[in-house]
């Protein structure tokens, strides 16, 4: 496993925020989401399907995202998730919270704000 650099608990706390952020611009399917997390974190963060999909289902159940089967020609159908308006509000407030949290940590630990 390559994700030992970041503590499992940290990842868990930030996972919802990551997913919502990735769906902000456009609907994506699960595989695409997992790839994007891996690429954009330059390999620091990785979600395997076993934890990614249950999380997606959880967010869907809360009404923050909504999944829909989309069939494209010549392919098997895929389930695309998009942000709901409720999800958009949650995303905004989580971003705000995360920002405050990170700043607070920085001030205490002296780590430069990214």
């Amino acid at each position: 496993m390559e994700d030992h650099a970041i503590d499992r608990e940290w990842k868990k706390g930030s996972a919802e925020l990551l997913l919502l952020s990735l769906l902000e611009a456009l609907p994506r399917h699960g595989y695409e989401i997992s790839k994007l997390i891996e690429q954009r974190s330059q390999g620091a963060l990785r979600f395997h399907a076993a934890s990614l999909y249950p999380l997606l289902y959880r967010l869907e159940k809360r009404g923050w995202i909504q999944g829909r089967w989309v069939e494209k020609s010549g392919q098997r159908r895929r389930r695309y998730y998009r942000l709901t308006s409720q999800g958009r509000k949650i995303l905004a407030s989580q971003r705000q919270g995360w920002q405050t949290f990170v700043e607070a940590i920085s001030r205490i630990t002296g780590v430069e704000n990214a």
Binding site: Y31, S34, H48, A49, A50, S51, Y53, P54, R58, R78
Partner: protein, 900 residues
């Protein structure tokens, strides 16, 4: 490409997800695994390696199962239908059920149409009857606070509800404290002249207080003023809305204009509103004090006066009744000769209007309920047959995780959809049927103007259609929901539908039973009407034309002129070709009018009230028995020489003869008539059933006295002629003579109209109107029941034959003859029919007792009727079974056996 589904499904096996949900998750994760596998392969991994990694990441050593359990647990029990978002719970599910229901019904148009028609028939008939019951019995009268309006009758030792003597009404109104006010009214007719064709108007005399008591405000103008409702006051008149529209084109400047009524000019003071339904036919209303008649001012005469009172708020009807009783007792002490023993009877105005029709309507409500049950049984049978065909569909749904409750709900949604569709058609049927029935039996219902489809009727229809949808949908729904998916899915399985066959057998038996009851009811009513037509009314009803006549206002001034005018009129009319003879009478038998007077034997003074008797009293011209063909039993009838110059004479009927002179010869004896004095009996004629073909035998006043018109004293002449009826015996079809008779009656002055022209047969027919109405409706219901039951048993037997094709084929192959095969099927069908009919007969015996009051000349348990009904229904059932049975015989054993 490796198979991803199976290993992923294994991971989820322990979660016990709903099948549809599981399938969805498996599909999504399989897609992911495949994407990952491709990626790994592109990066150079071996097939086995790539497969292992992909599966590990997806399954993640129980991680997936653990995480999913936390997420999916809460809705694991909820069934999910493939391809549909699962949001919104019950309501969304209902929408889904509705959409699916619509689709299924559209896919089976034949079934849908037949089921809807059966339901439309049942629901339509129920709606029609309910709209009648609603309009007549339930809906409050269209006056403000109608519960406080009471009809007040005078009660005497002979009549519990007699019309009121006007002086008594005045005393009641003055003395009573229970009422805000009382009003009085009386029907009459007016000759309307001086504005084109003379017209005869139905009218009401009303007290000035009547409209305020009812709470009616004129649409135009004002109510009568006290000075207009006063003896000698200037004549005023109020118009009904219809008359104002029809005769005056809704002239907005009508107020103050004068109408000539019975040669008196009356100024229009107001027009009543369009929805004023106090009288269905009165065109004008005139203050009651304008009625200058002698009988109006006496306490002896109860000249058709009705009295209405409006209770003060908070006063109960019992308290008012008690107060009126004490007022009447005081009047009895004050006027012992006329008022001793008289009381007052208070009835709520609506109850008073509808009390006679209530039992009839309740009977029809019961009958129409049976029709609905039969329709429901029929549709339930159709649904049962269909549910067998749909077993596979429900097996698949159950296998995919649909719960029983959900399947039942889906089926009930479909059946409610069906019944709502039926209700829509039924509502149209009801509108059309109600107007048809009302047109077929005019005048047989009080408040018929208020019958129609209103929101309450719509609500009723909605309620019964939902209720029936659930009712007839339940059995088939549970039958389907209980299907064992494994059995049903086996190709070609001949469903072990034991439950179904029992249920449809029960339905057929129920239909047959109810049909027997309805047919018995209709049969008994038909017999009653038929027997009534056979009753001898005491005269020959054929070829008699009757009409009321208004004499020219010019002759009304002097009694000798009146007599002369009548003599000339009779002479002219008798000379019309086709007229055999002509006569005049004050009252027509069977016409719902009556004229009773007090009499006593001998020539002495009037005995006390309790010893005077009442007799029907006819004032007639000498040819009357000739026109009516009333048989002369003894003595003679009148001649033209029985006039004012000769001693007063009378002819009595045989009932009075037996009553007063039992075993003696009444000819030459004397009786005394009130007001007129002693008369000598010169003849005895046969009794005429005056009160009705059915009710005359039990009427209170059956004695009959005839008195010659020409002997009516001058002082009573103008009143005596007020309602005289012209009767003609014709040689031709009576109505064909109307134009000629009208021309001859009009006379040289052209101002004597005839009106209310009817043949005697029409009068008898309308005297039976209410019974004919009931009979007609029951016949319609019975016919519908017969049709539905026949279709029901036919459907079940057709299906049974289809199901037994295999068996019948084997029997045919083994040498069974066609007759044996037909017998086999017939026996099966007729067994059901027989069970139903036997139960129906027992129920009919119990239920027809309730219609005993509506029957005439036939007992409720009339064996002939019940036998006829059973035979008719049996024959129809036999026919309905025979058609499918015949089909069974043309089964080719080879084909039947190859079908498997």
């Amino acid at each position: 490409m490796p198979d991803w589904n199976e290993p992923i499904r294994k991971q989820l096996a322990n979660l016990k997800l709903a099948p549809a949900r599981e399938a969805e998750i498996v599909e999504e994760l399989a897609q992911h695994a495949e994407d990952r596998y491709r990626e790994l392969r592109n990066e150079g991994a071996t097939e086995a390696e790539a497969r292992r990694i992909a599966l590990e990441e997806v399954g993640g050593h129980e991680l997936l199962a653990r995480e999913l359990r936390a997420v999916e647990r809460t809705d694991a029990a909820e069934p999910v239908v493939l391809g549909a978002g699962n949001k919104g719970g019950v309501l969304a599910g209902l929408g889904q059920d509705l959409r699916y229901g619509f689709r299924t019904l559209r896919k089976a148009p034949g079934f849908t149409v037949i089921a809807m028609l059966a339901l439309a028939l049942g629901i339509g008939a129920n709606t029609a009857i309910f709209s009648v019951v609603n309009g007549v019995l339930l809906r409050p009268l269209a006056y403000p606070d109608p519960g406080r309006l009471l009809q007040i009758w005078e009660s005497t030792s002979e009549f519990r509800e007699a019309s009121v003597a006007y002086p008594n009404y005045l005393d009641w109104r003055r003395e009573s404290r229970s009422f805000t006010d009382m009003g009085a009214y009386r029907s009459d007719d007016f000759n309307f002249t001086g504005a084109g064709e003379p017209e005869h108007l139905s009218a009401k005399y009303v007290s000035g207080s009547l409209f305020p008591v009812l709470g009616v405000i004129p649409m135009l103008g004002r109510n009568f003023l006290p000075e207009e409702d006063r003896q000698g006051g200037a004549c005023a008149v109020m118009l009904s809305y219809g008359f104002w529209k029809g005769r005056f084109g809704g002239d907005p400047n009508i107020l103050g204009k004068a109408l000539t009524l019975n040669a008196v000019r009356c100024a229009v003071t107001g027009v009543l509103p369009d929805d004023f339904r106090f009288s269905e036919n009165a065109k004008v209303y005139v203050p009651i004090e304008q009625w200058n008649s002698v009988e109006f001012r006496t306490r002896e005469e109860h000249a058709g006066l009705g009295v209405l009172g409006r209770l003060k708020p908070g006063v109960t009807i019992e308290a008012a009744q008690a107060e009126m009783a004490s007022i009447c007792r005081a009047l009895g002490r004050q006027y012992p000769k006329t008022n001793a023993g008289h009381g007052a009877k208070l009835v709520r105005m609506k109850d008073d209007m509808v009390q006679n029709i209530r039992p009839t309507l309740l009977l029809l409500v019961g009958a129409v309920g049976f029709v609905l049950i039969i329709a429901c049984a029929n549709v339930a049978n159709l649904l049962l047959a269909r549910s067998t065909a749909r077993r596979r569909e429900f097996a698949i749904r159950t296998a995919l995780g649909a719960e029983r409750a959900r399947v039942v709900r889906q089926l009930l949604t479909e059946s409610v959809l069906l019944s709502l569709g039926g209700a829509t058609v039924g509502l149209l049927l009801a509108r059309w049927g109600t107007s048809l029935v009302l047109a077929a039996a005019p005048g047989s219902l009080p408040r018929s103007g208020e019958i129609g489809i209103d929101p309450y009727v719509m609500l009723f229809t909605l309620a019964i259609s939902i209720a029936t949808g659930v009712l007839f949908g339940l059995a088939p729904a549970f039958h389907s929901a209980n299907a064992n998916p494994q059995e049903s899915l086996k190709e070609g399985a001949r469903g072990a539908g034991g439950g179904r066959h029992r249920a449809e057998g029960v339905f057929v038996a129920v239909e047959m039973g109810l049909a027997v009851i309805l047919l018995a009811g209709a049969g008994l009513m038909m017999q009653s009407v038929w027997r009534l037509w056979q009753v001898d009314p005491g005269f020959n009803t054929r070829n008699i034309l009757t009409s009321e006549v208004a004499l020219s206002p010019q002759v009304m001034a002097s009694p000798p002129a009146i007599r002369l005018a009548y003599q000339q009129l009779l002479g002219r009319v008798a000379a019309v070709p086709g007229v055999h003879s002509a006569a005049i009478t004050s009252v027509l038998p069977l016409s719902e009018s009556d004229s009773e007077i007090s009499f006593w034997p001998g020539t002495g003074p009037q005995p006390p009230q309790d010893r005077t008797m009442l007799t029907m009293f006819y004032i007639v011209t000498p040819d009357y028995p000739g026109v009516m063909q009333i048989p002369l039993k003894r003595g003679r009838f009148f001649t033209d020489r029985d006039n004012l110059a000769s001693p007063p004479v009378a002819v009595i009927d045989e009932v009075l003869a037996r009553h007063i002179f039992p075993g003696q010869d009444p000819i030459g004896r004397q009786i005394s008539l009130i007001v007129l004095g002693p008369v000598q009996i010169v003849g005895v004629v046969g009794h005429v059933k005056h009160w009705g073909l059915d009710s005359d035998d039990t009427a209170k006043t059956r004695d009959q006295v005839y008195f010659p018109v020409w002997q009516v004293p001058d002082k009573f002449m103008s009143e005596a002629v007020a309602g005289l009826v012209l009767t003609l015996r014709t040689r031709l079809e009576p109505l064909s003579l109307v134009p000629a008779v009208r021309a001859q009656v009009a006379g040289p002055t052209r101002d004597q109209p005839i009106y209310a022209v009817r043949t005697m047969e029409q009068i008898i027919s309308s005297s039976l109107a209410e019974r004919r109405f009931t009979t007609l409706v029951l016949i319609i219901f019975a016919a519908a029941a017969l049709l539905l039951a026949a279709v029901g048993i036919y459907g079940v037997m057709s299906y049974a034959v289809t199901r037994r094709v295999h068996e019948l084929g084997i029997r045919a192959a083994l040498g069974a003859s066609r007759g044996e095969l037909v017998g086999l099927v017939l026996r099966q069908g007729m067994k059901l029919a027989a069970i139903g009919m036997a139960a129906g007969l027992a129920a009919a015996l119990a239920l027809t007792r309730f219609m005993a009051n509506l029957l005439y000349g036939v007992r409720p348990a009339d064996p002939l009727t019940l036998l006829a009904v059973t035979l008719l229904l049996g024959a129809i059932a036999l026919l309905a079974c025979y058609i499918p049975a015949r089909r069974a015989t043309v089964v080719d054993p080879v084909i039947a056996l190859r079908c498997e």
